[in-house]
Structure formats: C-alpha cells, structure tokens
Amino acid sequence: MNKILFFAHLRDAVGEEFLRLDVSGKTVAELKAELSEKYDLPRMETVMTAINEEFASNDEVIQEGDEIAFIPPVSGG
C-alpha cells in the first residue's frame, strides 16, 4: 500500500489531503498521468514529485510502502 499526498491547488482539486492506493511497480510518470486524468489535475508539468520525502524523477519506480507526494511550485519565504 502507498500513501499519496497532495498540497496546495492539487489538494483542492483532489479534495483530499492524501489517498491510500497500491501503486507499487508503477513509475512516477504513470501515477501522475493516472491521477491527472482521474482528478483533472491542472498544470502537472510544473509539479515535482517526492518519494519518501526526497525529490524523485518521473522514471523512478514506486516500491511497496513508499510515501509519494506531489509538490506544486513552492512559494515559501
């Protein structure tokens, strides 16, 4: 099972802070595409991904238990 976290405008679009889904074996790009279609997520080309709190590439393969987070352009400071 995997926990998938959403922030900022993505959280508004999905309507949840996180989802629990089994997405192990998929690449980050595949998961992004699936969720993007299902929830009609905007501007996904600007969204970064973190696996277990570290930035990850689109081609990285998700493992069982990984925590995935979608990181829209940050605006702290």
């Binding site: 600007t46 970064m48 590439s57 689109n58 940050v74 605006s75 400071g77």
Partner: protein, 155 residues
C-alpha cells in the same frame, strides 16, 4: 535544540538568533520575511502558509549543510511559519553567523533563494475578491523531468 523548524506559532526572532551565536563569529545576519500588504498594486488581506512538514525540515537542513560547506565557519538556523498570517506577520526567519561580515550577507541571501526553490511550503493569497495558491513567482517554471533540474538544485 532544533536549528530547522516549521512552526504553527509566531516566530520568536531572538530565539532563532540565539541558535547561531558562537565565539568565533563577528557577524550575524537575519532575514525576516514579512507579509506585505501590496503586491503589484493588489491588496492582500491575509495569507495561509501550508507545508509538507517532514520534507520541509529535511530540505531546510540540506540548505544549512550547503551553506556550512560553502562558507567556512558559518552556522545557520531557519524557522518557517505555517497557518494564517496577517499583514506584517513574520513568515520566515533565517539567521546566519560567520567569522566575517561579507559571508554572513551572502550565505543568508543564498538561504532565502534556496528556500524559494526546493522547500515544500506554499502560500495562499487572500484578496478582497478571491484567493489563490501562489506558485513560483512568475508561474513560468516547468519541471519536465518531474524534479528540480541540476540548475535548480545547485545554485
């Protein structure tokens, strides 16, 4: 003592400064980011900051390590606020101490620029006529590989 924090409470600036006091330092700089009323002529009522807290702390720690490697003898502490902030409230405090003053300015500046690149914190602007999550300031940056590029991660 936690040098890198995400705080739901107002930030005590002196507490952040105290974390970087050292006998070898002749200079401490702080950067205090405050909520400005007007941005490009538009009036902000208040802001909400949200963070991916665990990762944000890790990324602040990373920025601290980068600075301590680049500027010899430097010491860094950063606290970023989350939640609702009103005009003039303090969103972030960065304190950097170094033996000599030029480094204290440069290293501090580096910290705020890096925060705006890699630390997962977002602000939502609330105006009289609406609200919106703010992306990178110009809304122009894309991440085709899905993560920050080399040019984003190393200055």
């Amino acid at each position: 003592m936690k040098l890198y924090e995400i705080s739901k409470e107002p930030i005590n600036i002196q507490d952040v400064i105290d974390k970087v006091v050292q006998r070898e330092a002749g200079a401490i700089t702080t950067f205090i980011g405050t909520v400005r009323e007007l941005t490009y002529g538009k009036k902000t009522l208040f802001l909400i900051y949200d963070a991916y807290e665990a990762m944000a702390v890790k990324k602040l720690e990373q920025i601290g390590r980068e600075i301590e490697e680049r500027w010899a003898g430097s010491q860094v502490a950063i606290t970023h606020r989350v939640g609702r902030l009103d005009i003039t409230d303090v969103a972030v405090v960065i304190a950097v101490s170094t033996p000599h003053r030029a480094d204290a300015y440069e290293a501090n500046r580096y910290a705020i620029e890096r925060i705006k690149e890699i630390v997962p914190i977002w602000k939502k602007e609330h105006w009289e006529d609406g609200e919106e999550w703010v992306g990178n300031q110009l809304e122009t940056k894309a991440y085709p590989s899905g993560k920050p590029e080399e040019g984003d991660l190393s200055e």
